[in-house]
C-alpha cells in the first residue's frame, strides 16, 4: 500500500519498530567486517576459515545488498590454466590505461588470485559454467570446462558468469561458517586505542537502522568493506529514484569514518564527467546499446542500415566475428580502455558526423534479431539478466511488457536527450565514486591501512573497482586480519570516544528545523558544482571548504528527523559532507592538472608534469591535514613481494 492510501484510511502511523535511541548493546569478536557486500562476505569467509570468530555489520540485508548483490555479468582480468595471459600482463594493461594511477598492489593480488577465488565461489554454489549446455558450440564457450567468455573470444580472460547466484551462495557459506551477520546496522565510527585518531583500530560503533539503538563492537582486527563515496556533485530523488549508480545507501560512510580516525587516503581529487548519477538518464544497460554488457551487439539506424564497427586503427570490420578478436599483433582486448594496445573494436568514430550529414537516421536500435542465436542469447538473457540491475528490472520486465529479443529492436538512446552512456553531460555533473577507479584508502601489501589492525578491501581501496577485485581483495584482507587478530590483545573502548559519537549521531533528534536530509544533500552538491567542478583554483576550493564550515556550524544542527530511518539518511548526508571535504583537501593538495585524474586546476594548468606524477596521500589528525607523497609504482617488484607475502 502507498503511504497516502494508508493515511487516508488509518491516519498517521507510529514507527512500526521499537525505538531504542541511546540504548547500548555490546558485542565482541576477533575479526570485525564492516559491510556485507562482495568484499565483506569474502573477507568474513576467509577469516572464519582461518579460525577467527567473525561479525559482519551490514546496513542493508547481506543476502542481496551492495553493488554486486543482485548480480554480475562479467568477471574480468582472470588468467587461468588455459589462457596464455599472465597476471603481470593484466597489470600492465591497468597501469597503461590509468596513466599509472592504478592500485598495483590490489590489482596484482586480484589478477593472481582471481581464478582460485572464482572456483571457491563455485564450490559455495555460485554458477560460473554453462552446465545446462545452453551455449554448446558457441564461439565464446570452452567445450571442456563449459566456461563462457566475453569481449575477447581468443584470449579468454573475461568470464561471463551467472552473478545473481553469487550473493546467496556467499551468504550461505557465511552462515555455515558461523559468521555472525548483523543486518540493519549502520557503522558510524571506528573505535581506536585510547580514543585517539591515528591509533590502532579496536572496533567500531553502529546504529540500528530500524530501532536507533547504539552498538559497540570490540574486535582484534577490523576490515573496511564499505565501498566508497557517492552523491557529491549530483543528487536528486525526484528525477529517477535516488540518482546514484551504486546502491543509494552507499555514500562513503566508510571513507568518512576512516578519515575521522586518521587513516590515509589517496586519489580523492579524481572525479569524472558522467551522466551516471545525474538523475537525467536511463538506468545503465536498460536500452539498446553495444557497450560493456551489450558488447558486441549489432546496431542499426531507423532505416535499418547497420552501423559498422571499426578496429583500433579506425578500419571498418566487416565480419561480426572480428569484433571479439584482437587485431593482428594485439596482445588482448581489455574490458574497457582507450589505450591503443588493448583497445576493443567499437562503433565507427565519426558516427555523430554521419548522423548530422544524414547518412544515418536517428534513433538507433540494438539489432538483437540480426545477431547469431548464441550471441543474442549471451547478450539478452545472460548478460542482460545477470548484470547488477538487469534481471527483474530489464529482462523480465520488458519481456512481460511484450519485448521479444528474436523479433524486436530495442531502441537506443545514444545521441538522444536521455543518453545514458555517451551524451553530453553538464560539466559540473561529475562523479567521484559512482563508477570506475576512485579515491580510497591507501594500503600496503597486507591490504592494511596506516592504522594498526585496520584493513580494507574492494571498492573502499584507492583505485579499486569490479567484482573480481572485491572478491579477491576481500579474501586476501580477511586472511591477514585473522592472522593479526590471533596475536593481539583486545583493547577496551574509550568511554569518552563513545560519548562523543553518541552526541554526534543523535544530534538531529528532536530538532524543530524544517530542512531534511535530501535538501541538505542537494545543496551540498550545488556547492561542489560551483567550487570543485571543471574549473578549480585555490580560491574556489577554499570557498568550498568555507561553505562546508558554515553548513556544519549553521545547518547541521537544525536538520530534522522523525524516525531511525531518517536519522540514518541524515547521518549519510553528514558523511557526504565529510567526503566533500576530503575531495576539496585532495584537490588543494595537487598543484597540477592531470588528464588521467580528470583534474583541471586553472592556476596550475600544465597536464601531468613529471614532478606531479605521484600519489598525494592525505590524512586528518583531529582537523590537521598531513600530506605526503608516494611514487606511482611504490609497490615495486610485484612478483617477489607478492610471493613473499603469500608464503
Amino acid at each position: 500500500m502507498d503511504w497516502k492510501t494508508s493515511v487516508k484510511s488509518n491516519g498517521i502511523m507510529e514507527w512500526p519498530y521499537p525505538v531504542r535511541y541511546h540504548d547500548e548493546i555490546e558485542l565482541e569478536t576477533d575479526v570485525l567486517v564492516l559491510g556485507g557486500g562482495i568484499a565483506g562476505c569474502f573477507a568474513a569467509i576467509a577469516a572464519a576459515k582461518a579460525g577467527s570468530r567473525v561479525i559482519v555489520l551490514e546496513k542493508g540485508a547481506a543476502l542481496r545488498s551492495g553493488s554486486g548483490g543482485t548480480g554480475c555479468d562479467h568477471w574480468i582480468n582472470t588468467p587461468h590454466p588455459d589462457s596464455s595471459i599472465t597476471a603481470e600482463e593484466i597489470l600492465d594493461w591497468e597501469v597503461k590505461f590509468s596513466g599509472g594511477y592504478c592500485n598495483g598492489i590490489s590489482r596484482y593480488i586480484a589478477a593472481r588470485e582471481s581464478y582460485e577465488t572464482l572456483l571457491e565461489l563455485e564450490a559455495m554454489g555460485g554458477k560460473i559454467r554453462d552446465t545446462s549446455d545452453e551455449f554448446e558450440g558457441a564461439a565464446f564457450r570452452d567445450e571442456k570446462s563449459k566456461f563462457l567468455f566475453a569481449y575477447d573470444y581468443e584470449n579468454r580472460i573475461h568470464f561471463r558468469v551467472w552473478g545473481s547466484t553469487f550473493k546467496p551462495a556467499l551468504y550461505k557459506a557465511c552462515r555455515e561458517l558461523k559468521v555472525n551477520i548483523k543486518d540493519r546496522l549502520m557503522v558510524t565510527a571506528l573505535l581506536t586505542a585510547n580514543g585517539m585518531a591515528g591509533e590502532r583500530v579496536i572496533g567500531a560503533m553502529a546504529l540500528h537502522t530500524r530501532t536507533g539503538a547504539f552498538y559497540i563492537i570490540k574486535a582484534g582486527a577490523v576490515i573496511n568493506c564499505l565501498s566508497r563515496h557517492q552523491r557529491n556533485w549530483a543528487f536528486s530523488t525526484e528525477l529517477r529514484g535516488i540518482s546514484s549508480f551504486r546502491p543509494p545507501q552507499i555514500v562513503g560512510d566508510g571513507h568518512a569514518m576512516a578519515w575521522r580516525a586518521g587513516a590515509e587516503f589517496t586519489m580523492m581529487e579524481k572525479s569524472v564527467l558522467t551522466s551516471f548519477g545525474s538523475g537525467n538518464v536511463l538506468p545503465p544497460y536498460s536500452h539498446g546499446n553495444c557497450l560493456n554488457t551489450w558488447f558486441p551487439c549489432s546496431m542499426i539506424d531507423a532505416k535499418g542500415s547497420e552501423i559498422p564497427y571499426q578496429n583500433r586503427d579506425n578500419m571498418i570490420i566487416p565480419d561480426p566475428a572480428d569484433r571479439t578478436r584482437p587485431a593482428p599483433g594485439q596482445k588482448f582486448l581489455g574490458e574497457r580502455t582507450t589505450d591503443y594496445e588493448y583497445k576493443r573494436p567499437e562503433l565507427i568514430g565519426n558516427l555523430k558526423e554521419k548522423i548530422e550529414q544524414g547518412e544515418y537516421t536517428l534513433p538507433l536500435y540494438a539489432d538483437l534479431p540480426g545477431m547469431s542465436e548464441m550471441d543474442r542469447k549471451a547478450i539478452w538473457g545472460l548478460m542482460v539478466g545477470e548484470e547488477g540491475k538487469t534481471g527483474i528490472p530489464v529482462r523480465d520486465l520488458y519481456q512481460i511488457a511484450g519485448f521479444d529479443p528474436e523479433m524486436d529492436l530495442l531502441q537506443s538512446y545514444m545521441f538522444l536527450g536521455s543518453d545514458p552512456m555517451r551524451g553530453s553531460v553538464r560539466p559540473q555533473e561529475r562523479t567521484g565514486g559512482e563508477i570506475g577507479d576512485a579515491g580510497g584508502l591507501f594500503v600496503d601489501w597486507e591490504l592494511k591501512t596506516n592504522l594498526e589492525g585496520f584493513y580494507a578491501a574492494g571498492d573502499a581501496l584507492f583505485a579499486g573497482n569490479y567484482f573480481y577485485h572485491a572478491a579477491t581483495t576481500g579474501r586476501y584482507a580477511g586472511k591477514n586480519a585473522a592472522r593479526f587478530a590471533a596475536k593481539v590483545n583486545k583493547f577496551s573502548p574509550n568511554r569518552e570516544q563513545i560519548k562523543k559519537e553518541k552526541t554526534r549521531i543523535y544530534l538531529p533528534l528532536g530538532k524543530k528545523g524544517r530542512m531534511e536530509w535530501k535538501e541538505l544533500n542537494m545543496a551540498m552538491c550545488r556547492i561542489m558544482q560551483d567550487y570543485c567542478s571543471e574549473y578549480k583554483n585555490e580560491e574556489l576550493l577554499n570557498i568550498g571548504l568555507a561553505w562546508f564550515d558554515d553548513i556544519e556550524k549553521n545547518e547541521l544542527s537544525h536538520v530534522s528527523v522523525d524516525n531511525p530511518h531518517q536519522l540514518v539518511r541524515t547521518l549519510e548526508v553528514f558523511n557526504v559532507l565529510t567526503c566533500n571535504r576530503m575531495i576539496l583537501q585532495a584537490s588543494l593538495a595537487r598543484k597540477a592538472s592531470s588528464k588521467y585524474l580528470h583534474f583541471h586546476r586553472l592556476d596550475y594548468p600544465e597536464l601531468d608534469p613529471e614532478q606531479w606524477r605521484k600519489w598525494i596521500v592525505l590524512k586528518n589528525l583531529d582537523g590537521t591535514i598531513e600530506q605526503s607523497a608516494k611514487p606511482l609504482n611504490f609497490w615495486q617488484s610485484l612478483v617477489d613481494i607478492y610471493e613473499s607475502h603469500r608464503s
Binding site: 500500500m1 502507498d2 503511504w3 497516502k4 494508508s6 493515511v7 487516508k8 502511523m13 514507527w15 512500526p16 546496513k59 542493508g60 540485508a61 543476502l63 542481496r64 545488498s65 551492495g66 548483490g69 543482485t70 540493519r184 537502522t209 530500524r210 530523488t237 525526484e238 528525477l239 529517477r240 529514484g241 535516488i242 546514484s244 546502491p247 543509494p248 545507501q249 536511463l282 538506468p283 536498460s286 536500452h287 539498446g288 536500435y365 539489432d367 534479431p369 540480426g370 547488477g388 540491475k389 534481471g391 527483474i392 528490472p393 523480465d396 520486465l397 520488458y398 511488457a401 511484450g402 519485448f403 523479433m407 524486436d408 529492436l409 530495442l410 531502441q411 538512446y413 530511518h565 539518511r569
Partner: protein
C-alpha cells in the same frame, strides 16, 4: 467526494506496486530491501506500506523474493520507460 489536506507525492511515487489481495503479508520484501523503504503494518497478513518510494534503487530484489506470484511488481517511473520496434512490421511499442 471527500478531499484530504495532504502534501504532494514525491516522484517517482510508486516504484513497486503491491496487490493487497494476493500479498500474504510475510514482509520478505520489506526485509530484503537494502534501502529499507517499506515498513510492515501491525495487522497480521496485511501488505506492507511503501513509505519512502523515492529512495528505490530499482534492483527488483523485493519482487524476486516474494513467495506469492503477482503480489508485487516493479513499476519503473514514467521517465525511464523505453521503446522498441518490431523488426518485420515496424510497429512501435513501449515498456
Amino acid at each position: 467526494m471527500k478531499s484530504f489536506a495532504l502534501p504532494n507525492n514525491t516522484s517517482p511515487a510508486s516504484p513497486v506496486i503491491i496487490d493487497a489481495d494476493i500479498c500474504n503479508g510475510c514482509n520478505k520484501c520489506v526485509n530484503i530491501c537494502q534501502v529499507d523503504l517499506m515498513i510492515p503494518v501491525r495487522k497480521k497478513g496485511a501488505a506492507p506500506i511503501i513509505l519512502y518510494p523515492e529512495e528505490c534503487w530499482y534492483c527488483g530484489c523485493c519482487v524476486e523474493i516474494c513467495p506469492e506470484t503477482g503480489a508485487i511488481k516493479l513499476n519503473p517511473p514514467l521517465i525511464q520507460r523505453v521503446r522498441w520496434k518490431r523488426k518485420k512490421t515496424g510497429e512501435h511499442f513501449r515498456v
